[in-house]
C-alpha cells in the first residue's frame, strides 16, 4: 500500500513539475535598467525661461517668439495687437548635452543680437541615483541700432549666467528653479573713475503640468532678488501644444523682452494694472546630422 502510494507520488511529482513548464520564465528577473529621465518639458523653453530640455546633437530648432503690446494700451492700440516684439532664433545641438542658441530680436525700437550656450551637467535618472537635472547656461546680448548711438561697444553689451535645477516629479509635473546672475548695460554705474554695470540676482521658478499627453499648462515666476523697486518681476502663464514637428506655446506675460537680460531685469509692466500681453512661441525642429543606428 505504502509502496503504491510512493510510486504515485513519484509520478505525480514528475507530472506536476513538468506541468509548470507551461508558464515558464527563461530570462528570470530582469536586471534593473537605469535610464535618463527625458521629456520633462515639451521644448527648451518654459515660457521665457529656459527649461530642462536641451536640443539633441545634430538637431536644429528654429524658434520664433512673438509678443503683442500690453492689453492696457486700450482700444486705440487694439489692446496691444497693433504692436509686435519678435525674436527669430536658431538652436543647435553641437554635441550631446551642449547646445548653442543665436537670435535677433527687437524690443521697443531697440534691435538686439543675442547668443548663449546651454550645457547639461547632470540628468535625472530612473533609479534616482541622480535625483535632479542640472543645467548651466551663459550668454550675452548686444544692442544694435540708433537708440543707443551715444554708447560704446561695452555699453551695448549685457551678460548673464544661470543654473537650472529641476526634476520631473511625475509623467505630468516638472518643476525647476533657476538662480540667475546678470548685468545690465542700460544702467551703468559710475563711481569715481570706474564705470561698471549694474548687476542683478534673480531666482527663476518654472513648472509645467500636462493636461493631455500633447499639451500642458506652464507657469513661470522670476523674482529679481536685488530689485530696487524700479522693475517688476516677470510672471507668465503659458500653454504648450505639440503637433507633429511643431511645438506651439501660447502665453500671457508682463514681460516684453525676449532674451534673459531683458525679460528678467527690464520688466516695467505689472499684472496688477493689466500690463500683460498675449504672445506665442513656435518651435520647429530639423534633423541635420542623422545618427548611426
Amino acid at each position: 500500500m505504502v509502496r503504491k502510494l510512493l510510486i504515485a507520488v513519484f509520478f505525480l511529482n514528475t507530472v506536476f513539475l513538468n506541468a509548470q513548464d507551461d508558464d515558464f520564465d527563461l530570462l528570470g528577473d530582469e536586471e534593473k535598467q537605469v535610464y535618463p529621465v527625458d521629456y520633462a518639458f515639451k521644448t527648451t523653453k518654459v515660457v521665457n525661461l529656459q527649461s530642462l530640455e536641451i536640443t539633441d546633437f545634430g538637431v536644429l530648432d528654429f524658434k520664433m517668439m512673438h509678443r503683442f503690446g500690453s492689453i492696457n494700451n486700450g482700444p486705440v492700440e487694439a489692446f496691444g495687437l497693433d504692436q509686435a516684439t519678435v525674436r527669430f532664433g536658431l538652436e543647435y545641438g553641437i554635441v550631446d548635452n551642449l547646445m548653442i542658441s543665436m537670435g535677433r530680436s527687437n524690443v521697443l525700437g531697440n534691435k538686439n543680437l543675442d547668443a548663449f550656450l546651454k550645457y547639461r551637467i547632470l540628468q535625472q535618472n530612473t533609479d534616482n541615483s541622480i535625483p535632479v537635472t542640472l543645467i548651466a547656461l551663459g550668454g550675452a546680448q548686444y544692442l544694435l541700432g540708433s537708440a543707443h548711438d551715444s554708447k560704446t561697444q561695452l555699453d551695448r553689451s549685457s551678460f548673464f549666467g544661470q543654473l537650472i535645477i529641476g526634476r520631473k516629479f511625475t509623467e505630468d509635473l516638472s518643476v525647476e528653479i533657476a538662480p540667475t546672475w546678470l548685468t545690465n548695460a542700460r544702467n551703468p554705474i559710475t563711481t569715481g573713475p570706474w564705470t561698471y554695470y549694474e548687476q542683478q540676482w534673480a531666482l527663476g521658478i518654472g513648472m509645467r503640468q500636462k493636461i493631455t499627453p500633447r499639451s500642458s499648462i506652464n507657469l513661470e515666476y522670476i523674482p529679481v532678488l536685488t530689485n530696487k523697486g524700479n522693475v517688476y518681476n516677470s510672471f507668465s502663464v503659458g500653454m504648450d501644444v505639440e503637433t507633429g514637428g511643431h511645438v506651439f506655446q501660447f502665453q500671457l506675460t508682463n514681460s516684453i523682452g525676449l532674451n534673459e537680460t531683458q525679460f528678467i531685469s527690464n520688466t516695467t509692466e505689472q499684472w496688477n494694472n493689466v500690463g500683460i500681453r498675449l504672445g506665442f512661441n513656435l518651435s520647429r525642429v530639423f534633423t541635420i546630422v542623422k545618427p548611426r543606428l
Partner: protein
C-alpha cells in the same frame, strides 16, 4: 520505509531535472521595426533585447522600449512619450513556443519554424505568431524572423494628423545569436 521514501522523492526530482531542457540565451540581438505608408516610411532599431530559447522550442523575448533608436530624434521623443509611454511600460515581452514543426527538437542545421505565443506591449496582451528560421551550428544558435503587429491591438492610437505618416501595421524583424546558458 521513511528513508526509502526520501530516496524515491529525490530520485523523482532528479528525473525531472534530467528531463528539463537546455536553454540558449542571446549574446547579440537586434530588433528593427518598419512603418510604411504611401507617404512616409521610417524604421527604428533596438540593440538591447534579450532572447531565450530552449531546445524544445520555447521562446522568450524581452525588449526594453527605451532603447529604440530613430533617425529623427523628435520621432524617438514622440515614440517614447506619446505612443509607447515607455516610462509606464518599460518592456515589450513575448513568450511562446514553436508550433510548426510539431514536437520540435533543436538539431544541427537550419530549420524553418512557426512560433506562436503572447506578446505584451503597452500594457496589452495579445496572441501573435511569427515565422522564422533557426540555425544550429555546434554550440551556437542563430535565429531570425519577422511578424506584423497592429498598433490598434495594443491601444496605441495614431492622431488624425499623423494618419498618413504612421502605419497601423508595423513589421517587426528580429535576429539574434544565442549560446547555451550555463546552469547556476
Amino acid at each position: 520505509m521513511k528513508k526509502y521514501s526520501i530516496i524515491l522523492l529525490m530520485a523523482s526530482i532528479f528525473f525531472v531535472g534530467a528531463a528539463s531542457s537546455q536553454v540558449y540565451k542571446s549574446t547579440d540581438a537586434h530588433i528593427r521595426f518598419v512603418s510604411k505608408t504611401d507617404f512616409e516610411e521610417f524604421e527604428a532599431i533596438n540593440h538591447q533585447p534579450t532572447i531565450a530559447f530552449t531546445n524544445k522550442g520555447k521562446v522568450q523575448f524581452r525588449v526594453p522600449v527605451n532603447s529604440f533608436e530613430f533617425e529623427k530624434k523628435l520621432m524617438q521623443t514622440h515614440f517614447q512619450e506619446n505612443y509607447m509611454e515607455s516610462s509606464k511600460y518599460p518592456n515589450a515581452d513575448f513568450k511562446g513556443s514553436v508550433i510548426e514543426p510539431e514536437n520540435f527538437k533543436l538539431k544541427d542545421g537550419e530549420q524553418e519554424v512557426k512560433v506562436s505565443g503572447v506578446m505584451k506591449m503597452h500594457g496589452v496582451e495579445k496572441e501573435i505568431s511569427a515565422t522564422g528560421t533557426i540555425q544550429k551550428n555546434k554550440n551556437e544558435v542563430v535565429m531570425s524572423g519577422n511578424f506584423d503587429v497592429l498598433l490598434s491591438d495594443y491601444k496605441i492610437a495614431i492622431p488624425k494628423n499623423n494618419i498618413n505618416q504612421i502605419s497601423n501595421r508595423i513589421t517587426i524583424h528580429f535576429e539574434a545569436k544565442l549560446e547555451p546558458k550555463k546552469s547556476k
